[in-house]
């Protein structure tokens, strides 16, 4: 029992664990914050996975060509917008099934990246570490939150920016209206599907940036399996958070923590776990967490309902 409590203490006081929690949560936050905006507009983008991957791959190519971090991040964001424009126009201009489109884009991007990758001699590096003075000295959390490579700090900009856009601008009000009651919004002169498309394009921008940040601020080397399911977990985080920004970010931290546990547990406890079961941990935890929390939330009324004027 004492040994058990001891190892429990080890887990709680383990600095590297918090650092990797922050890193793994950050990538989820990019995807989840973007997806949050889209879901408030009443759409679910399974293709957020493809947007992450698009940004991840495009920034790898851009960095190989130019060796410029800022430019590569920009290229990643643009790639995300490109993928999301497919989702946006196919599902909210042509009214094709949004889940079908999302799933297809995920498969398409994965295939495209695997097909194109051998043609590029990709070599990428990690951006430099920046320690933010004073804040870095906070015990345990300081190094985790303020001792990262600089692209990771973009996450601190993305969260308030998205909140301001959705909660304090006219555009944001219209986006939320479109997610709740598209018929009423339509009557007041808001172009429902245009707002939804904008929201999806914003998701692409942020998720693409996230994919690029993940490459240049965290993993450093491109692999097509890097994203593997992170977009899906980000969608789960939005639902876990009850479609609030606070909740979505909390969900990302929770799922990031579980993912970090998966990576660090064998080192901390010094016991070999079954690799398969460990790999299943984030998904299992996501399901269990949803089981406990999902009921107490209120979703945007018109979530995942396509809007066609004249048809309810």
């Amino acid at each position: 029992m004492l040994a058990f409590l001891g190892s429990f203490g080890d887990i709680l006081a383990n600095g590297p664990l918090y650092q990797s929690t922050f890193r793994l949560a950050a990538i989820l936050v990019f995807a989840a914050v973007g997806e949050w905006v889209a879901e408030r507009a009443g759409t679910i983008n399974l293709s957020v996975e493809a947007m992450l991957l698009g940004g991840h791959f495009a920034s790898a190519i851009a960095y190989t060509q130019t060796s410029n971090f800022a430019f590569s991040l920009l290229v990643g964001a643009i790639a995300g917008v490109f993928v999301s424009s497919l989702q946006a126009y196919l599902s909210h201009y042509l009214n094709a099934d949004q889940f079908g489109i999302g799933l297809t884009l995920n498969i398409l991007l994965l295939g495209l990246v695997a097909f194109l990758e051998p043609n590029f001699d990709l070599s990428t590096k990690l951006a430099g570490e920046t320690k933010i003075p004073l804040l870095y000295d906070i015990p345990i959390l300081g190094p985790a939150m303020f001792g990262q490579r600089w692209p990771m700090y973009l996450v601190y900009a993305v969260i308030p920016l998205s909140w301001w856009l959705l909660m304090r601008t006219t555009w944001g009000l219209e986006v939320r209206a479109v997610g709740e009651d598209p018929q009423a919004a339509d009557v007041t002169g808001i172009h429902v599907n245009a707002r939804r498309r904008h929201a999806i394009l914003y998701t692409g921008l942020i998720a693409g940036l996230g994919g690029a940040v993940y490459l240049l601020g965290q993993v450093g080397r491109f692999e097509s399996g890097n994203i593997g399911g992170k977009g899906i977990i980000a969608i789960a985080a939005v639902i876990f958070g009850g479609w609030t920004l606070r909740g979505a970010v909390a969900g990302c931290i929770l799922f990031g923590y579980v993912d970090a546990l998966r990576l660090n547990l064998p080192n901390i406890v010094g016991h070999d776990f079954n690799a398969q079961l460990l790999a299943a941990l984030p998904f299992l935890a996501t399901i269990v967490v949803m089981l406990i929390f999902a009921k107490h939330t209120r979703q945007p009324v018109s979530l995942a309902r396509p809007f066609i004027r004249g048809l309810k």
């Binding site: 399974l46 889940f99 079908g100 398409l108 295939g111 097909f115 899906i232």
Partner: protein, 364 residues
Amino acid sequence: MSTTPTAKRDRVELIALYVVSIVAAFVIAAILVNTSGGSWSKAVEAMINGAFKNPGRWGETLRRAAPLLIVAAGSAIAAKAGIINIGQEGQVLIGATGAAFIMTKIHPGSPLMLILGVLLGMLAGAAWAGISALLYYWRRVPVVLSTLLLVYLSSQITGYTMTRKFLLLEVIEGSPTKIQNSAKTAVNSRLGIMHIFGNNVPLTVPIAIIFAVGVAYMLAHSVWGFRLKMLGLNPRTAQRAGVSHVRFGTMALLTSGAAAGLAGSLMLATGESNYRASSGFAASVGWDGLLVALVARNNPYASIPVALAFASLHTGSNFLAAAGVESVLVDVIRGLLVLALFIPPAVSELRKKRRVLALMTERA
């Protein structure tokens, strides 16, 4: 308003749109092949050889198409009820794993084991989908999300059963058991294979066709199908008419999971990956089957040619490497093709709507 000439024009327009967008998808793929140093004409030739022309290949294509059709017909059931099950990949895998428990463990097998194995496979697939039903109706977790999360979980769990001897790991005397797959299924628990013109056509092919036709018939002509459709079109009306959302929704989801499990266990019984289950066993049959259903707009009859097309892409891709093209190209083609098949009906709807609007403003 929909006079005969307009209806006819709509149909011609739709067909033209289909032709244009499919051609566009292949042109994009051809450009990709050529820019990455391959030759598109060689790639096309290789794919045709791989899917049909070479000896024994069309049998392989049919072998791949059969489970796709079963999965697609199952997806249609859930979709008709308005439930979006996108976890077929996991349900196929769990179904095959479930079947493997019976088909590999009981030696010497008897034909009864085949039936039991397939039943357990269907049960396992249904149970896996049932988790999503439980999560939705008990805790309001969206089905789209839970089915998708369960796909990721399924391969890990199946992988785990392949690492433990008391579960499914094959025990080979005197050799370290590193290969993570199950033992071969018992000979008696295998399903027959027909030999037609030098091709091996497994019995899953007629089973799949019967299954798809049966599902189509039930959806169109039975009370059960009517209730499912009512639930899908208007849950509130359905509830008023005595069709319980919980009961029928759960049943639709379980049935579609069972269909995926059936596909998985039949794949195992007809010798997919040499009669051994492993964590990669499903080999995209679930994803492809789902896409077949989506493209065929949840019509089981239309799923038959679409499944055949998807299967020939898959078998054709096996010959791509010899033509100097990466076989993952086929994932790109498949993605582009699905997008291309989504676009025409949507464009046609949009144009129809615009015409009606124009007509109305004209009258006003």
